[in-house]
Amino acid sequence: MAAVIATHDLKKNYRRIEALRGVSLVVETGEIYGLLGQNGAGKTTLIKILLGITRGWRGQAELLGHTAGTVAMRRRVGYLPEDHHFPDYHTAFSLLDFYGQLLDLSRAQRRQRIPLELERVGLVPRMHTKIRGYSKGMKQRLGIAQALLHDPDVIFLDEPTDGVDPVGRREIRNILLDLKGQGCTLFLNSHLLSEVELICDRVGILQKGRMIREGDIKSLTQQKGRFLIGLAQGQQMPLADLQSRGYQIAPLGERWEVQLEEQQNIDPVVDLLRAQGLSIRHLVEKRQSLEDMFVETVQEGNKGRT
């Protein structure tokens, strides 16, 4: 798999402020990558460097095999900025038409694609009214439509669900998953970790311009040796048996949580329950929520630095 985004030791200063202090990251084709971090961590700066909006960086930054900021590859990139402001004398349709022209889409392509993308975000009924009259969420939907307009290979979304209602958020999530299905690479910044958790394959956590943690969601949120077991209705957990064998087990609601020691394995527990004729209805390895992980990581990071 080819890397769509690759940075190495990327640094950027805004006068005195060190926005990025050596960030290295690689995003492969077809991945959904989520960049997390506190306000001012440098997430937006990273995207802007990759897209050539911000200049004067040091290190390496490549997008689709070209040095970041090259004009030619921008045709293959979609972008939804944070705090975007569309010229409000446009209507959704005329705005996309304008952007489509700048993107070298032919008239026929524009006629075909614009209603399609607006349909996708549910803006068709309002597409010929001025943007001035749109609600925040409508503008956000329009932002997503314009990022997808030219069927790009990579899409950067800076807080895509900002201001969108829960139904809309789910719709957007589905759009993003659709795109992934089509082989599109997605890079998103978001503070809504529950959402990131639902769609991203991999996440990176940026803190004060440094990448402090990176990995796929599963391994980041996994909690070593913690399992949740549920039995069929009315059956009792043989707590004494298990504890006598050295397993730590405690009830958790209707279920039981098992904490394994270093050398222990869950299989003997299952064998024992089966041997006693109990029916296991539920068995999962317990995870930390992404939010817990994030807060923990960031706090550790803060400790490490001060």
């Binding site: 050539g52 200049r55 004009v71 010229p87 700048l102 993107l103």
Partner: protein, 443 residues
């Protein structure tokens, strides 16, 4: 394609504000008002009366683009002797009576101070004929009338002493229509201007009318253009808007230049609308087709281009429309000031030279203020030259009939190539700077 897209976007932005409609409405109103102006040709005698007393020649001289021409080699008024002649009779030779397109024999009466002079002139009229020829020279030179012959009249006014009659045989030219005295009125003749028999050459009236309209109109149009377009670039550079444009496959400099040309086109369309409108209605109403004045469209657009390049640079540097309006208008005034002061000094210096004032007594030559003005004038855009060019165009259209004719009377030493070159270079420099800043800017 992209240029058109950006142009269309600018247009949409402009249409979104009501200012554009107000401007177009104002232009339309002015054009309509001009359309109601009519000129009623007066009898041929009125025109020849005014030629005889020299008032037409004087007016043409007063109206000419450069008034400060003490140094000039040739001056219109220098050839005219006021009250030299008096009109006695006008007779149509061929064509409709009182029409500018007809041939006439005009009898002029010349006064002499003594009987001896009269006797001498009637024996040998060459000197008197030459005097009359000279009296007509300006008008003939400007192609407003042709003179076939001048001779002593066969019938002399015996009753009155010390006078001689001369017959001037005139032939019409295409310019005679402009020379012809007519009485103006507005609202299709409903509101006549001046007394019953008042009239003046149509060309001079049209010149006064159009140059007033153009000097006020161009000022208003350019100011309005500066204000409307000053919002284009700061709006484009707004945080959250510019990001969306910068990620499009288009170079930043191209984006900025297209936007500049977009603003220029916008003002061009406005100016073209107004000038074409005035040209058309005047042509239709008076039959004087002022083709040169169509050149005002590019000249005024260029003028605006100079202003807009300043506005563009300031917009890129500050992203503020108010700052660009203020600085652009300041620069406009600055250019005007430099142009005026420089011209004043140049004329005064030339006068000192022609009068051969000794070096140590010259006040204007080598004056520090004059030197500063001259230095600034060398590098700054020459907006005053453009204003002068506009007057020249109108003068040529309505008075002389062609630009080359104007050269005979307008001797202001303007190196047009240099003047346009310096202004164009200034625009290029400012745009270059703006592109360079924009190219490196972080958003």
């Amino acid at each position: 394609m992209r240029y058109l897209a950006i142009l269309k976007d600018s247009l949409r932005e402009a249409l979104d504000s009501t200012v554009l409609y107000i401007m177009l409405g104002l232009s339309a109103l002015v054009v309509l008002l001009v359309a109601t102006v009519s000129f009623e040709n007066l009898p041929a005698a009125r025109t020849f009366e005014k030629v005889a007393d020299g008032s037409i020649q004087l007016a043409f001289d007063l109206l000419k683009p450069d008034k400060a021409e003490e140094h000039s080699k040739r001056q219109l008024s220098g050839n005219v002797q006021v009250n030299l002649l008096e009109l006695a009779k006008v007779r149509v030779v061929s064509g409709a009576p009182d029409s500018p397109d007809s041939e006439y024999t005009v009898t002029f009466r010349m006064r002499f101070s003594s009987k001896e002079e009269v006797a001498e002139a009637s024996n040998n009229p060459a000197a008197a004929v030459a005097l009359i020829e000279k009296h007509f020279k300006d008008i003939v030179d400007l192609g407003l009338l042709k003179i076939a012959s001048i001779q002593l009249a066969t019938q002399q006014p015996t009753a009155v002493a010390r006078q001689l009659d001369f017959e001037v045989h005139t032939l019409p030219t295409p310019g005679t229509r402009r020379l012809w005295c007519a009485r103006p009125s507005v609202f299709f003749g409903w509101l006549p201007i001046g007394e019953e028999n008042w009239g003046f050459p149509v060309g001079a009236q049209l010149y006064v009318l159009t140059s007033t309209l153009v000097s006020i109109g161009s000022w208003v149009a350019i100011l309005a253009g500066v204000i409307i377009t000053s919002f284009f670039i700061p709006n484009m550079l707004r945080k959250g808007t510019v990001d969306l444009l910068l990620v499009k496959p288009i170079h930043r400099w191209a984006l900025l230049l297209y936007k500049f040309v977009g603003g220029l086109t916008f003002v061009f369309l406005n100016i073209a609308f107004a000038i074409l409108g005035i040209w058309l209605v005047l042509g239709l109403r008076t039959g004087v087709w002022a083709h040169t004045c169509l050149l005002l469209i590019p000249v005024l657009t260029f003028f605006f281009g100079i202003m807009y390049s300043i506005s563009t640079l300031v917009s890129v540097l500050t992203r503020s429309a108010v700052a660009s309006i203020l600085i652009t208008c300041g620069a406009w005034f600055g250019f005007f000031l430099v142009g005026t002061v420089h011209e004043l000094f140049r004329n005064q210096i030339r006068i000192e030279e022609t009068r051969k004032i000794p070096m140590e007594k010259r006040k204007w030559t080598d004056n520090p203020i004059g030197n500063v003005a001259a230095a600034l004038h060398t590098v700054l855009p020459r907006t005053s030259d453009l204003n002068h060019l506009s007057s020249r165009m109108l003068y040529s259209d309505f008075l002389t009939g062609s630009l080359s004719e104007v050269n005979k009377i307008d001797l202001r030493p303007i190196e047009w190539n240099e003047s346009m070159g310096v202004s164009a270079l200034f625009v290029a420099l400012l745009l270059g700077l703006a592109c360079w800043r924009f190219q490196a800017k972080d958003f």
